[in-house]
């Protein structure tokens, strides 16, 4: 189900909201991941310090990205890796296809890569007659269903085991029970042949270490290790921002990433790969390519509001924490990346920003994403910036724009504000019944579909204030002396540069 760009986020969300299977599956898994993350970060003991350290590493790397990218590419080349830079998705696809053609590949096995999803690479490979096989269990399921991932790290999060059993039964040609170990066993056997047949193994990249030109993969299934050891040729796809300077920095990332993603202290497998197989190595590819993708990323460099977007380590914690994602899952966001990070990243990476204007509205700006983020990306502020840029570019909703002009005209003058409240009290008589409004029409339609609206009481606070003030002044006692001193001290501290 690729819904990219065809429907409004509102309509895609409505589809999701009417899909009970999806909603319960998403809730089930995000709850498990979220509570795992909360537990793991609490167990860690000094999570916030490490988070800040992680943020600093990412800020520093991105601020010096040109330097570290060059260092990484030089070192990787010295290790015997073919390093390619792709400005656009098309270029990256073309580079991948050229390698496949050069190797006369019939089959490519792939470990999970969001960059590959961003490129829609499987379709491209198939178009030149190369079989592309996803070997991450979730990705494999999604591929069978001809869908796109609905979560950064749990691609099939929106499916329950019954739906998965149906899909795999079709593939098996026999009915498989909805038993997770039997289903996983079937996939394991099936994939074993694919690993052995494939000429090319293709991976993503969690981190690229500049100081040694190495790439690091985190995974739980061992499939990435198969992909990087069995086929003769390896292609690694990486976003240009995956770089970190050193192995010391990896320690911080290896602490933050698995805990944030799944609540694990460490993933089952963590592979560091520095170049193709050497003579003394028992296995590994004879030839290794790394394709470094820009595809809109460099547009964020130097943008004070969005540069931090490149700090993302793709853990998915913001999706698991997001109360909107929880209700609608990932496909409703319409792009490759979903959840709060997707709502910002998708328009940021696209040239046709206008077509993606509405995703930034799919957030209540609650800040749960920011709180969950292991590198503290202020996604909630970025969502507001996207909304502001849309308005500034003249793409705002005309009616809303008029409404906001009215808002400003009323709110910049307390007398007008007061007059409007008075008008409101008269106007509401038309629609109010026993102190509430239940009318499901006009601007109240959406709100009142789920709620009742309170009415304006006879007197506003400011109407009551003169009487209230008199009454209180009459009975006022002295402030306790200790309290007065506290207030004085706070004011003193504030003048020294402190404050709330």
């Amino acid at each position: 189900m690729s819904t990219e760009g065809k429907m409004s986020v509102k309509n895609r969300a409505r589809l999701a909201l009417n899909n009970d299977f999806l909603r319960s599956a998403v809730r089930f898994t995000t709850e498990r991941l979220r509570s795992g993350k909360i537990q793991a970060s609490a167990d860690h003991g000094s999570w916030d310090e490490w988070r800040e350290r992680g943020r600093q590493i990412r800020l520093h790397t991105i601020a010096n990205l040109d330097y570290y990218l060059t260092q990484f590419a030089d070192n990787a080349r010295a290790n015997g890796v073919h390093v390619h830079f792709a400005d656009t998705a098309e270029e990256a696809v073309q580079l991948s296809l050229n390698i496949a053609k050069q190797k006369s590949a019939q089959s490519v096995v792939k470990s999970k890569s969001m960059v590959s999803e961003e490129l829609h690479l499987n379709k491209a490979l198939e178009s030149i007659g190369v079989e592309a096989v996803e070997t991450d269990l979730g990705e494999y399921i999604i591929q069978l269903a001809d869908e796109t991932p609905s979560h950064i790290i749990i691609p099939a999060i929106h499916k329950n085991r019954y739906q998965i059993a149906d899909l795999l039964s079709k593939e098996a040609g026999e009915t498989l029970p909805p038993d997770t170990s039997i289903l996983a066993g079937f996939v394991r056997n099936k994939l074993r042949e694919k690993f052995l047949d494939a000429e090319i193994g293709m991976t993503g990249c969690n981190f690229a270490i500049a100081e040694t030109g190495s790439m690091v993969l985190f995974e739980n299934e061992g499939n990435a290790r198969m992909v990087t050891t069995v086929p003769k040729t390896q292609i690694t796809l990486m976003g240009m921002e995956r770089i970190i300077p050193s192995w010391t920095d990896l320690e911080v990332m290896a602490t933050l990433l698995p805990r944030s993603a799944t609540g694990q202290k460490l993933t089952v497998y963590m592979s560091g790969i520095t170049g193709p197989r050497r003579d003394e190595d028992g296995d590994g590819p004879d030839e290794m390519h790394i394709i470094i993708l820009d595809n809109g990323r460099s547009l964020q460099l130097g943008d004070p509001e969005f540069q931090e977007l490149l700090n993302c380590i793709r853990c998915g914690a913001c999706l698991n924490a997001c109360p909107v994602y929880r209700q609608i899952g990932g496909h409703a966001y319409g792009g490759t990346y979903s959840g709060p990070i997707g709502a910002v990243l998708t328009p940021a990476l696209k040239k046709n920003v206008a077509e993606w204007d509405d995703i930034a509205n799919a957030s209540s700006l609650c800040g749960a994403c920011y709180e969950a983020c292991p590198v503290k990306i202020p996604l909630h502020d970025m969502l507001v910036s996207l909304r502001r840029r849309k308005v500034e570019a003249g793409r705002g909703n005309k009616l809303e724009g008029l409404g906001m002009k009215g808002f400003a005209a009323i709110m910049n003058n307390s007398k007008r504000y007061r007059a409007v409240i008075r008008l409101g009290k008269i106007g509401q008589k038309l629609v109010a019944r026993s102190g509430e409004i239940r009318l499901k029409a006009g601007p109240l339609k959406g709100w009142n579909t789920y709620r009742v609206t309170p009415t304006l009481p006879k007197h506003s606070f400011r109407d009551k204030w003169p009487t209230l003030e008199q009454e209180i002044r009459g009975g006022l006692q002295n402030m306790p002396s200790g309290m007065e001193q506290r207030l004085q001290n706070i004011m003193k501290d504030r003048n020294k540069g402190g404050g709330s």
Partner: protein, 247 residues
């Protein structure tokens, strides 16, 4: 010393009882609040929707109103946090930027003011009800007011505080979000209210009338009897309840 009331447009127009309770409660500590009538709305609806010119027009009334205040106290964590955005909103206006930086330092949310500024964690109230608490996102997450309301609630005699499942999840209000993305917002408030009902509490307390209006609206829509109260109302009513008994 000038301690000013930042009433917020919502509490001014729809929920005057909340601010009145706050004023009466603070008066017990000898605080005569003043109310600058220049103030209207903090500008958040426009700010969050991306209309920053319009937000500035509204925010200026707040900055002008509290120019000479020493402390500003508000019954909303969200509107208090909005003041923290003023320095980016007015970054190109040196006069208002200075006001913004100053106002941020002297503005407090109600429970924050009681606990951090006045040093009060027990107002001496009695409130014999089963209460659950919804921590509003902006107040708790962004302003960092997490422990203050819990301390105040735990000190109330007779009050049985029951934990709200998934308390930290947003209630789905989100300002214009509730209108623009009505179905998503509806799903969120429905889940929030499911959890409130699950607790079997008779009162839901909170610190932000926007969220509480959203939650109360869904409770009423479903015919649920849970009473929704701002913490200031609860504490003040708890003081009166006690005094009525003693009299």
């Amino acid at each position: 010393m000038k301690i000013s009331l930042f009433v917020t447009c919502l509490s001014d127009t729809l929920f005057p009882r909340v601010t009145e309770s706050m004023v009466r409660l603070l008066a017990r500590y000898g605080l005569q609040l003043e109310f600058p009538e220049l103030q209207t709305c903090c500008g958040q609806p426009a700010y969050n929707s991306g209309y920053w010119d319009e937000a500035r027009a509204s925010a200026k009334t707040i900055l002008d109103a509290f120019d000479d205040s020493d402390f500003v106290v508000s019954p909303s964590g969200s509107c208090t946090y909005m003041v923290h955005h003023y320095s980016s909103l007015f970054k190109d206006d040196p006069v208002y930027l200075q006001k913004a930086e100053l106002l941020q330092k002297k503005t407090y949310e109600f429970s924050q003011f009681l606990v951090q500024v006045l040093g009060v964690t027990d107002v001496g109230a009695t409130f014999k009800h089963k209460v659950t608490y919804h921590p509003s996102c902006h107040g708790s997450r962004l302003l960092g007011v997490k422990e203050e309301p819990m301390e105040l609630l735990r000190s109330v005699k007779g009050l049985e505080l029951v934990p709200l499942p998934f308390a930290d999840d947003c209630c789905g209000f989100g300002g214009t979000f509730a209108v623009k993305m009505a179905d998503i917002s509806g799903a969120m408030v429905t889940e929030k209210v499911d959890h409130i009902v699950e607790t079997e509490a008779s009162v839901l307390a909170g610190l932000d009338m926007a969220c509480l209006m959203n939650i109360a609206g869904n409770l009423r829509y479903r015919g649920e009897k849970v009473r929704v109260m701002h913490l200031a109302e609860l504490l003040y009513e708890g003081l009166e309840e006690k005094e009525v008994k003693q009299a």
